[in-house]
Amino acid sequence: MNKRSTWALPYFIFLLLFVVLPLIMVVVYAFQDNSGHFTLSNIAKFFSDGDSLGTFALSIEVAVENTLLCILLGYPAAYILADKNLNRSAVTVVLFILPMWINALMRTLATAELFNMAGIQLGKGTLLFGMCYDFLPFMIYPIYNQLNKMDKSYAEAAQDLGATPAEVFRKVTLPLSMPGVWSGVMMVFMPTVSTFAISEFLTNNKIKLFGTIIQENINNSMWNYGAALSLIMLIIIAITTVLQGGGNTEDAAGGAI
């Protein structure tokens, strides 16, 4: 080991203790029964339980809807923020990112109270609203970043070659900003699948998401089933990540289309 790599040792230990070890424990617990014997029954239970599968499907559905909603709202916002003619100040950017500084639980609780005050029935609508409110900055920021660092001369070159402003957007700006959109999707879709607090507060537990049933199992000391569900979710997330081509945040110019 050379001198430089010894500097990495503290981080290595940290990763080992707080990432690798828990991950191994999740895997081990998922394949054990109450008495610690190897079993596949936890996994089998999930695939045979209609309720769990239904919740899982609903979680994916809500996550997809929330992600689309975030793109729909976040892209135009990011575009406006990155446009020097429309927005000259960095303060506006900070204002958009500001909610991220406040604890998500507090924001969610406050949102629920607002709905109660306004007399709005809690349900899927309020759930989506809350999720979108929570996760929007995570969509705006990567897209904003991507648009902001994009060389202005690409758009100018397209214009120079005869593209109308709409064509410039469709043929150049949008495709070149896709890496930002993908990392936004990564940062919104994954956490939405596993969220439980938002659904608990904003639907009064009427709608249960995948994260909710993991939490319930673990709260009720059903560690093994909880671990199996977590493992399944991890695998789903890994698959989506691979499908998205690694969710490249740094590859600005990459063909992530």
Binding site: A157, G162, G255
Partner: protein, 464 residues
């Protein structure tokens, strides 16, 4: 080659960014089919001018006519011009073929014709077989060719090139220069080329427009610009030159470096201070001192490939740069002469610093955004006056402790036995200084002037 027909006509174009005038009353026309180069140091406004022609920027005032029609209100995508961008701006999400076909597809040109034209233009830039390549896998020179191909495939009326070779290494740049010139001849398209490289401009252009600080300094053919620079900026910027202070004694007779010379210039008047430009290859140097116009001692001699470059201290204490095919050892006493036709005499833009000033109190005047001590005899507080300071009477300090105001060195001209500096002061104005001290461009300087060296005259006696 270039015809007399004008394709672009630019009139009284002005643009300011805040206080700074980037373009100051630009008047220029471009003839159909010519290779015109906008040449100047960075920040001279050449790129701004090009971007205005392309349509990416609007002037504050003035007009740009394309074939007689004003195009200021035409958005860039409707202008029949194409640009080769400085860093190419090839679309990274498209391959070579789709990059080149981009403009044609937008114009809904039929597929077969697009195919034919893309292949033809790829052949022209010697990049056939590259159509499926990812643009990011190409070298700088190859990307450059694709950028040119992408522009000319649209058959623009004028091709705008923004320092297209700046990012290439020297060898590649030389090769591309030749290719560009050939391409220009083959295509018959008007080229407007922006560069800060004077050698590139001399090699490529039919017409060179030398710009500095938002103003056109000189327009002419490469030979005109090189042989007859109109002012010391152009002389210094284009090629190597000896720029010296001189006095026009009478028509066809000029005095500099302590000797009188015959020249071909006239009409300056008698005993008028002038700038004299001598190209280093125009000074004839001999071992034999007899019968020569002046003598000197060789200080240094460097081999430059084709010729030797020598610095010679003349008998009058000036330093001259001389290029010759023969080497003369340092320390050798040599004789030199200059032919009348090789002496380029230029009117001095100014002979002293002169500012509008106002008397603040007895013994104090204000100009250059500061207050100065000087004699104000005959004037009273509130009077508007002109303050004059000789170039050699301005003290430059390397600190601001005892300075009245400060500035930065903006331009340095070596005049054979002293430096003539242009200092941009804190107030954004300029002061010109003759000094023997060596300063670098952008150096921070403190400015001080002795009270006796500030001469105050009535405001209507002189002009700025």
């Amino acid at each position: 080659m270039a015809s007399e027909e004008r394709i672009i006509d630019i009139g009284h174009l002005c643009k300011s960014f805040g206080e700074k005038k980037v373009l100051d009353d630009i008047n220029l026309y471009v003839r159909k089919g010519e290779f015109l180069t906008l040449l100047g140091p960075s920040g001279c406004g050449k790129t701004t001018l090009l971007r205005m022609i392309a349509g990416f920027m609007r002037p504050d005032s003035g007009s740009i006519l394309l074939e007689g029609k004003d195009i200021l209100d035409t958005p860039p995508h409707l202008r029949p011009l194409n640009t080769v961008f400085q860093r190419y701006a090839l679309f990274p999400h498209l391959d070579v073929y789709d990059n080149i076909a981009f403009g044609l597809k937008l114009k809904k040109v039929p597929e077969e014709e697009i195919d034919k034209r893309v292949r033809k233009v790829l052949k022209l830039v010697a990049m056939s077989d590259y159509e499926d390549r990812d643009v990011e896998t190409l070298s700088g020179g190859q990307q450059q060719r694709i950028a040119i191909a992408r522009a000319i495939v649209n058959r623009p009326k004028v091709l705008l090139l923004d320092e297209p070779l700046a990012a290439l290494d020297l060898k590649m740049r030389k090769d591309m220069q030749i290719e560009l010139k050939e391409m220009h001849q083959k295509l018959g398209i008007t080229f407007i080329y922006v560069t800060h490289d004077q050698e590139e401009a001399l090699t490529l252009s039919d017409t060179i427009v030398v710009m500095n600080e938002g103003k056109i300094q000189q327009i002419g053919t490469p030979t005109d610009i090189y042989n007859e620079p109109v002012n010391s900026f152009v002389a210094d910027f284009i090629g190597e030159s000896n720029i010296l202070n001189g006095t026009m004694i009478e028509d066809k007779r000029v005095s500099f470096i302590g000797h009188d010379f015959d020249c071909v210039d006239k009409g300056f008047g008698e005993n008028v201070p002038v700038d004299v430009v001598i190209r280093p290859e125009d000074i004839y140097i001999k071992k034999n001192t007899e019968g020569e116009q002046f003598t000197g001692t060789v200080r240094s001699c460097t081999f430059k490939g084709v010729h030797y470059e020598m610095f010679v201290d003349t008998d009058s204490g000036n330093e001259l740069m001389i290029q010759d095919y023969n080497a003369f050892e340092p320390g050798t006493t040599v004789g030199m002469h200059i032919r009348p036709g090789d002496i380029q005499v230029m009117k001095k833009e100014r002979t002293q610093n002169s500012y509008r000033a106002s008397v603040v109190a007895d013994g104090r005047v204000s100009f250059l955004g500061a207050e100065w001590e000087c004699s104000t005899d005959g004037f009273s507080a509130g009077d508007e006056v002109i303050a004059r300071i000789a170039f050699g009477k301005v003290d430059l300090l390397d600190h601001e402790d005892e300075a009245v105001t400060t500035g930065n060195v903006d331009f340095i001209l070596y005049k054979g036995n002293h430096y003539h500096l242009t200092i941009k002061t804190e107030s954004g104005e300029k002061i010109w200084v003759d000094t023997n001290d060596v300063w670098d461009k952008n150096d921070f300087v403190g400015i001080r002037i002795a009270p006796k060296d500030i001469q105050i005259v009535k405001a209507d006696d002189g002009n700025e």
